[in-house]
Symmetry: C2
Subunit: 350 residues, 2 copies
């Protein structure tokens, strides 16, 4: 009971060779006679044998582990994706290592390097690519190294790196949202646009702007306020809007937690959503679905994104990187009731 029985010990106890023991335990192409197999299995049981994954990894050249990098695991958006990855990984008998960059995207490259050291079979990068050229380059260099060494990489969000990608159709979703909101009668918007260099944020803003333009609505410079991609970022951006902007009837926050912060900011001034101001978000994170008023948002199937990314990686034959586009769907809630043509809101709808 000194702790670690090795396959060698198992073989000795079972009275067979190392090769036979190995074949009996993890079932190779070669068959092992029934009684010997039985003996080996019994010995393993008796010795509390636990195969040393590190040794196996060394021999095979890769670990049956996939790494995942997220900006913040406590953000429901990413924990949703992670949940999908983990479910799919479990079905494939893979373990998942997760690293959180705490929203410093510069750290992604470090973690990719870390996963390379572990000889992980694959890495999934979730969360927005940035528009910073330098960062993208260092990340790309690290990703190349990872792939050169035999690993696979997939990204969930934008197609910015030449790897398998699950693209969230942020533009399409935000554009559809804009269409629906203008159909409801809104004309005067503010957008809480997240960090300037975050592509998801940027795409959502762009798509929204496109949708508005199709309805003949322009978005001026002051109507777009940047801020952190978090609840607090939404809160602050909203405060700025409330102080500097008048005549707004609807606020679009480029993600749900920012919308949450925005609503908090609005309420902290004694105003009401949607009576004084309507709010829409993006993502449809589950914890917010029961909020009153129901937040108008754009639904993204987060678990699905994660699952698709993992499946893509595993089915990949090393050919050209593939792209899978995932549509999103507008969910209208009471946070953006229809406006009467006159300019006063109807208070029904839910």
């Amino acid at each position: 009971m000194e702790g670690n029985a090795t396959l060698f010990d198992v073989a000795r106890v079972a009275g067979v060779s190392l090769a036979t023991a190995s074949r009996a335990i993890n079932g190779s192409a070669r068959t092992v006679g029934a009684e010997l197999r039985e003996k080996v299995l019994r010995a393993a049981q008796e010795l509390d044998y636990s195969p040393n994954a590190a040794a196996r990894t060394m021999k095979r050249g890769h670990a049956d582990v996939v790494g995942m990098i997220v900006p913040d695991i406590a953000d429901p958006y990413f924990s949703g994706i992670a949940s999908g990855v983990m479910k799919a990984a479990d079905e494939q008998g893979l373990m998942v290592s997760i690293a959180s960059t705490r929203r410093q995207s510069s750290r992604e490259a470090e973690y990719v390097a870390g996963f390379r050291r572990q000889r992980n079979r694959a890495v999934i990068l979730a969360g927005s690519r940035t528009s910073s050229r330098a960062e993208t380059e260092t990340l790309k260099a690290e990703v190349d190294r990872f792939e050169a060494q035999g690993g696979r990489v997939a990204v969930v969000s934008q197609r910015k790196l030449p790897v398998d990608t699950v693209v969230v159709e942020n533009r399409q979703g935000a554009r559809a949202l804009a269409t629906d909101l203008t159909d409801l009668g809104y004309r005067d918007f503010a957008v809480l646009a997240g960090p300037r260099d975050l592509l998801s944020a940027k795409d959502r803003l762009d798509g929204f702007r496109t949708g508005l333009a199709e309805a003949g609505v322009e978005l001026s410079r002051e109507q777009v306020v940047n801020g952190e991609f978090s609840r607090d970022g939404g809160f602050q951006a909203m405060e700025q809007v409330l102080e500097e902007l008048g005549g707004i009837d609807c606020v679009f926050a480029v993600n749900d937690v920012m919308a949450l912060g925005a609503i908090a900011a609005i309420r902290s001034r004694g105003l009401d959503v949607p009576r004084h101001l309507s709010v829409a978000g993006f993502g449809d994170i589950s914890t917010l679905r029961d909020m009153a008023p129901r937040l108008t948002t754009v639904r993204v199937d987060l678990e699905r994104l994660g699952r698709l990314a993992l499946e893509m990686i595993l089915s990949s034959e090393g050919g050209a990187p593939r792209t899978r586009r995932e549509k999103c769907q507008v969910v209208l809630g009471a946070s953006t009731p229809g406006r009467k043509p006159v300019g006063r809101r109807s208070s029904a709808r839910g």
Copy 2:
């Protein structure tokens, strides 16, 4: 560029021995002459050398990875704890592997075994212990094996296993909540009590009952409804309460997402919180802090729990298992306004 340069290659290019290369790169007790070290480092850089963690693990006997097991990573409660673990792990240069049991606690033992195969340095079990004797036994057996092999184990929740534990003072918190609620004038409660065999759920119920008893309030059998530990579980349990129970003025859901489900159920009947019914939860998950009305709940510092668990593990000298108790604090919100002695609620407070 065939992918993987080994330390041997680095040594060859630098014109030194394997031993020297190793010492230069990971800095052992032995010093290496400045110019040789320089040469080695340059060679490593040039070759894109990436140390093989598996080989290192094999030699050392343990991987610099900590495993973490949670019931559901998409639940903000656990992603909060995970976030704390990951932050602390990062500071220590450790990687984190996460496994989600999808609330089948019987799978915990399997994952511990999996982490044992990986030779992980430590495992953190988050989430409630169950009261099932059989499950606890198999888990304990697996934990013993893990420890026999040199790994450390910590648990976040109850002290049910003889390992380092961060105990959440569920009883104390729920009791304080009961005290506060009775002080506010509530007398007729329903408790949405979660699964029967989940200790966290059970402890919160017990503590709540104790607090009520101190105020002279009894909880009858019908006033306690079991259900899943999730939003949907809360919803269903609440529906049951609404159908079968009358005269209730306050509902205590043993966790926040259940409270969320309960509120949804209440509203789906056209009733209002807190006008028709007050609701309290447990956990104070961050996404719900901006909900209107503010949910009365018991705050648990989730990140802290995770951090403490990791620190406990690392500082552990293999002595007797230690226990660290973490208090929780009642947060009163507008979801449980003070009742007027007469029986009508004052509508202020928030």
